[in-house]
Amino acid sequence: MIAFIVTTIICFITYLLLTTGSGTIGLWSREELLFGFILSLIVGFVTGRIFVKEDFRMLNPVRWLTFIAYAIGPFFMGMAKANIDVAYRVITGKINPGIVKISPDLKTDLGITMLANSITLTPGTLSVDIDEDKNDLYIHWINVNEEALKGESVDCKYICGNFDKWIRRIAE
């Protein structure tokens, strides 16, 4: 039942965002509001069970606020640094690439997806493959740091800074 309500509300908000400026009640016309509500009910009824899995951790607004803070603060800064780094390598052509393994020790699917996407968008790294049993990530690194290669798998701090701590706070 909670899954149905959550999915319906999210669908309705999305529909409202996509149809702004259509009328005079607020920004919407009466037809759009009614039709959007009926459509959201149908979609919520059909896909609620797929959209929300067994637990409701992500309904906690504190997690959403943490996510927004993460996206604006450390993530955007990391992205800016990445782009200046790649710009430098595009112009000079200096590269020292390699594929390394990291063990971020995250358990949920959502967490590992967010970490992989963050890694792809930040300094000089690109996630290539995942070991689904242990949630290890294989990373293509454009400028390999020799110090990091000593152990079996590379420490997270060379690749993603403190992103794994943020993501553990958001998704686990």
Binding site: L18, T20, G21, A82, V90, P97, G98, N117, L126, V128
Partner: protein, 128 residues
């Protein structure tokens, strides 16, 4: 005043997108090219979308409902780019590595060790 800000954001965005194009031509193999293709285009697109959003908010403030459509739909497009661009790059890189493309000048390749180990295991199982 706001127009100058819009032009500056647009300029930064175009600079990074051009850089992505140059990177695609200059880098030696598929992985390094993906670096240029994902990071620079996403970052550039954020600035271009930002300039469009500011323009839309300005039009909205001046009383045109078209402005709200412009701003909100651009936010939707930005979210879609941020979600799909790294995922697509990951899919391409994984497919390239599975079909045997080796990174040019690689210092270390942990993934290849793992896949060769697996292949050896499979062969021995078949023999037994």
């Amino acid at each position: 005043m706001l127009e100058i800000l819009i032009y500056i954001l647009l300029g930064i965005g175009i600079f990074f997108n051009v850089l992505a194009g140059v990177g695609l031509l200059r880098f030696p193999d598929v992985y390094t090219r993906l670096h240029a293709g994902t990071k620079c285009t996403t970052f550039g697109s954020i600035f271009i979308c930002g300039s469009v959003i500011i323009l839309g908010l300005k039009m909205w403030y001046q009383g045109s409902t078209d402005g709200s459509v412009l701003a909100i739909h651009t936010v939707g497009a930005l979210v879609a780019i941020l979600l799909t661009n790294p995922t697509g790059a990951h899919a391409i890189a994984r497919a390239a590595h599975k079909s045997g493309v080796e990174p040019v000048g690689a210092v270390v390749d942990s993934l290849r060790k793992k896949s060769t180990k697996k292949a050896v295991k499979k062969k021995t199982e078949v023999k037994e």
